[in-house]
Symmetry: C2
Subunit: 337 residues, 2 copies
Amino acid sequence: MDDRKLQVLRAIVTDYVSSQEPVGSKSLVERHDLGVSPATVRNDMAALEEEGYITQPHTSAGRIPTDKGYRLFVDRLGSVKPLSPAEKRAIQTFLSGAMDLDDVLHRTVRLLAQVTQQVAIVQYPTLSRSTVRHVEVVSLGAHRIMLILITSTGRVEQRALEVIEHDEEDLADLRNYLNAAAVGNSTSQAAARLHTLVGELPERIDVMGQGSIATLLEMLNSEASSRVVVGGVPNLTRFSDDFETTVKPVLEALEEQVVLLRLLGETTTADVVTVRIGQENPFKELRTTSVVASGYGSQEDTWATLGIVGPTRMDYPSTMASVRAVARYVGRFLSEG
Amino acid sequence: MDDRKLQVLRAIVTDYVSSQEPVGSKSLVERHDLGVSPATVRNDMAALEEEGYITQPHTSAGRIPTDKGYRLFVDRLGSVKPLSPAEKRAIQTFLSGAMDLDDVLHRTVRLLAQVTQQVAIVQYPTLSRSTVRHVEVVSLGAHRIMLILITSTGRVEQRALEVIEHDEEDLADLRNYLNAAAVGNSTSQAAARLHTLVGELPERIDVMGQGSIATLLEMLNSEASSRVVVGGVPNLTRFSDDFETTVKPVLEALEEQVVLLRLLGETTTADVVTVRIGQENPFKELRTTSVVASGYGSQEDTWATLGIVGPTRMDYPSTMASVRAVARYVGRFLSEG
DNA sequence: ACTGGCACTCCGGCGGCAGGAGTGCCAATG
DNA sequence: CATTGGCACTCCTGCCGCCGGAGTGCCAGT
């Protein structure tokens, strides 16, 4: 591909992103010194349109990038824009003073929404890559107990279940058995060991134990139902122009956890920023929006994904830089704290 | 106040709510059989406008209700519209199969959003009206422990804190002391008894115990920071006309827990539906929206508030009926489960 | 291969115009 | 005295046509 044509495409993308208006050949050469005349640029534009990178909303209007154009832009043209000092500072200080996992994730989603000016989504760390720190068994009455699962990422899951009559000693026994089997293991290991535990319980707590273990296994496997935090929804109002096509579908997607999770995509490796542009993402209603996501976690493991969703016409370099920076920082913070 | 004038006001409100358009004298007498001519209605309308219950967007347009008009409507004219069988059924079945408190509240907010077609808000049950069911102490490593507080409403709060070196026996002791003092008491009683416990701990766990008690007291007093669940945000898109005045401010309010909590208002008695219309509510940005809220809880106590927020031009009778029904049902469900 | 020039297209804003819905007022009526 | 029919008036809304501007495509010239 011709070098200048790429330059022209880059110029079109950046101009369109900042102005939100179709960009013509004349204004293009005015703002970027390409060293050629508008007529030459027009030829290049015609070629770019022929190849499907740009399009015009109507005859004799300026050009706007297509999804394919954006794709080429982020793949080959996106110079990683360094973060401003203010942004760096914001990222560094935002998490200080966070109290628990909930708090960390809520702060993160706010931060991400603020620096990108988009709708931010942060997924709770999955259980599967973490280890079991503690299992607690609590009585809720004569016939109900509550199981609490605490993982190395600080995540706490609880579930109540109906059981037969029991006393405190039974619970203490059960607690010891469960912890002996689970603590220190990864969730998959813990699941396996709990499974073998089923036959080995003393008869007195056998029935209750089996119920508890079944519930625990459910909790350990509940990765699919993992929760998300959303923030920065008001940023959608910046695109009041295309209400029906952009705002409404995004709001609807945000309402559905399942959709959101699929939108963030498979948990990718940490430190790799994924961009899904327009129709590349899995919901046809969201074909006018893009998703910029990244995994986050410790050096060894990726725990979950976070990212933003916004109109296809967004500032990809900045956004990608911000998402990556936030993902890195949160991963480090959670690994330490 | 003249009886027919009230009828006219009622007709204006209902017509405007359903049509979203200023309503004139002619179409009014057509749709409601008031037994008088349009001219007579015009006189009444002029009077109602004089008294500030209705207004016209511009000269020679139809009338729309003012906030004052809506207020009179809900106070004196709102015949409680009974729920449709379908709605009743939805409410009865929506909570069946709920797993834990989170689940209950999420289902509730969805239900409320669905039946009212508005944005729904549900507040987590406050601690203060509930009793302590269990306090759990878990080791998170050599220098960290986690405190978990479980209340009679099923609410679970956790908080990690730094402590000095400790072993399992210390934790067991501490756990027993804390539970002995707290379990079965209301949160305020529990706070008091924990306070007196400070001096009575054995020396071995004294330091750790003081830290734990301080944290627990914080948790017991954290009523103010109580969380909320929001749902039905896409319903906002039904008012795409006045984007700036309705959609944006609501989205911004939803982002701020503090604002939301103030919006729901002081926790009122259960079974009383509060309506705050337009400028009656505490944020000037929300002067075009109304809030319909109700407390929920057991027979004896009110735990928290739930409600909806929507444009002032809403169907108050239906909405109030729905909010009340949902609040009742959730209260009953949580009291039993 | 690039450039300047030129004719052409299409959007968007603006003004004028007509239709319709609604009002206020007034005189008439039971 | 409340109610009513009639009437003139106001104002919004949609529609049409017009015009300017921005942009394009093409072609001939360097």
